[in-house]
């Protein structure tokens, strides 16, 4: 094996290690959530600022007309969906259905978001890749459960 080939091999192995590490720790990746009651710019600003103070949040975008929050999360976060819903409630608003992209594993129809201690009832996926898998799914207002 040439020196160049060895170097490339080492690089690939290192990249795979980094990726695996991120995949194991980056649980929630993105949450798009509908919120009831947001009627003004100041309300939106308050909610966005409050969510930004939760650990692991990279950015919060608000669409007032559709009542949508779009939350991007940092890699290696330990974000909890329950904290997000609580934070929205504390600001006087109601969190509704959400589209969630997260890394996790299936246990029957339960999808457990790694490291968060939270799981959702979602339709089981036929995935050939080993866990953790990345999944985008819909949740209702009250479908969140804590891992027993």
């Amino acid at each position: 094996m040439t020196l160049a080939a060895k170097s490339i091999l080492r690089l690939v192995a290192f990249a795979a290690l980094i990726c695996a590490s991120n995949c194991l720790h980056a649980q929630y990746e993105r949450i798009q959530m509908r919120v009831y009651g947001l009627d003004c710019e100041l309300c939106a600003r308050g909610v966005a600022a409050s969510i930004m103070r939760l650990g692991g949040v990279k950015s919060v975008a608000v669409n007032l007309k559709q009542g949508l929050l779009d939350i991007a999360l940092k890699p290696d976060n330990n974000f909890k969906m329950s904290s997000l819903r609580k934070r929205i409630q504390d600001n006087g608003f109601r969190s509704m259905e959400a589209t969630v992209t997260a890394f996790g594993k299936f246990d029957g129809s339960r999808f457990e978001v790694l490291g968060s201690g939270e799981w959702f009832e979602v339709k089981a996926q036929d995935s050939k890749s080993p866990p953790p898998i990345e999944l985008t799914f819909q949740t209702r207002e009250s479908s969140l459960r804590a891992v027993p």
């Binding site: 919120v35 939106a44 409050s50 103070r53 608003f93």
Partner: protein
């Protein structure tokens, strides 16, 4: 160089114009997060803080009114306000605002949103109760004798609102009662009943999405019924007697209770209505409005109040706790 001087001059003119505008206004008030004159049901989020400062001018009296509010728990807000007179004119009676006493005082208030139904995107129905305690802080000169003794005030109110992205409707009423610090005191400040009905509208042209500046317009109607003040006759050092022909005049001796003399130049009722606007941008809120007297009947020789003007500014510390 000339351009810089022109800019400096125009900025100077702008500042003077702003000062002039402020000095021309009547009572200036508003919490910069809802109607300027009427009741609002909105409370701060948990851990949020708002700081407000207003200049009020009403019937020749100029007041400054700082207020700090804090979101203690979900649906529970605490506020402390301390309006004071910069100069004394014809002292107005009644509350300036649902959240602020109209006499120089320190007031602590709790706003508890007891009903909160979030039924859709940008739609909510709310009901809020208010309870407050105040202590007057300045002796206000009266034309009919010595100032009344300082007193504690108790305030209770309730308001309901339906708020959507496009429309806003709220109604509320409250009562402020003044007692005495000592059981032997016969002086009594005027108690007040205040009510409001507000409709609001955000025109489509201003219906822009976050994080653009936000604008909302209101038509506010308020009514106040102010009771008559009374004074200990043993300490009444005189002053000009009121003319007997005005509305509401009653001979003082006939109205005395427990030995107190009812002051004929106090109390009355009024209904005011007019437009206001709310502008928020980033963490700032600006508010302005004007109300005109639909009905104004003050007892004795008190001057009539033809209009009220409001200007308020607020800064919000948002984000709450970690």
């Amino acid at each position: 160089m000339t351009g810089k001087r022109d800019w400096s001059r125009s900025r100077h003119r702008f500042g003077l114009a702003l000062l002039g505008l402020l000095s021309l206004t009547g009572p200036a008030w508003g919490d910069a997060h809802g109607p300027a004159f009427g009741y609002s049901t909105t409370v701060l989020g948990v851990g949020d803080i708002s700081i407000e400062l207003a200049i009020m001018r009403r019937l020749g009296t100029t007041m400054l009114g700082p207020e700090v509010s804090y979101g203690l728990r979900q649906n529970l807000q605490l506020s402390v306000s301390a309006p004071f007179h910069v100069n004394h004119g014809e002292h107005p009676v009644g509350r300036f605002d649902p959240l602020m006493p109209g006499v120089p005082a320190v007031e602590g208030m709790a706003a508890w949103r007891v009903y909160h139904k979030l039924s859709g995107v940008a739609t909510r129905n709310e009901g809020t109760l208010f309870g407050g305690f105040s202590a007057t802080t300045q002796d206000l000169p009266r034309t009919d004798g010595r100032p009344l003794q300082q007193a504690p005030g108790f305030y209770g109110a309730g308001a309901v609102a339906r708020i959507t992205r496009r429309y806003y409707v709220s109604a509320g009423a409250g009562y402020e009662y003044f007692g005495t610090w000592n059981s032997g005191d016969l002086d009594r400040q005027s108690s007040t009943f205040l009510s409001s009905f507000v409709v609001g509208w955000r025109p489509p042209a201003f219906d822009r999405d976050y994080p653009k500046p936000d604008v909302r317009f209101f038509l506010e109607t308020t009514g106040d019924w102010v009771g008559q003040a009374s004074r200990d006759p043993a300490q009444n050092t005189g002053g000009p007697p009121p003319p007997p022909h005005n509305h509401g005049y009653r001979p003082a001796a006939a109205q005395s209770g427990g030995g107190a003399v009812v002051l004929p130049n106090s109390g009355g009722s009024g209904i005011f209505s007019g437009p206001s606007g709310l502008f928020t941008y980033k963490n700032m809120g600006f508010q302005g409005g004007m109300q005109f007297a639909l009905r104004d009947q003050r007892n004795g020789t008190q001057p009539a109040e033809r209009y009220r003007v409001v200007i308020g500014v607020s800064y919000f510390f948002l984000g709450g706790k970690k």
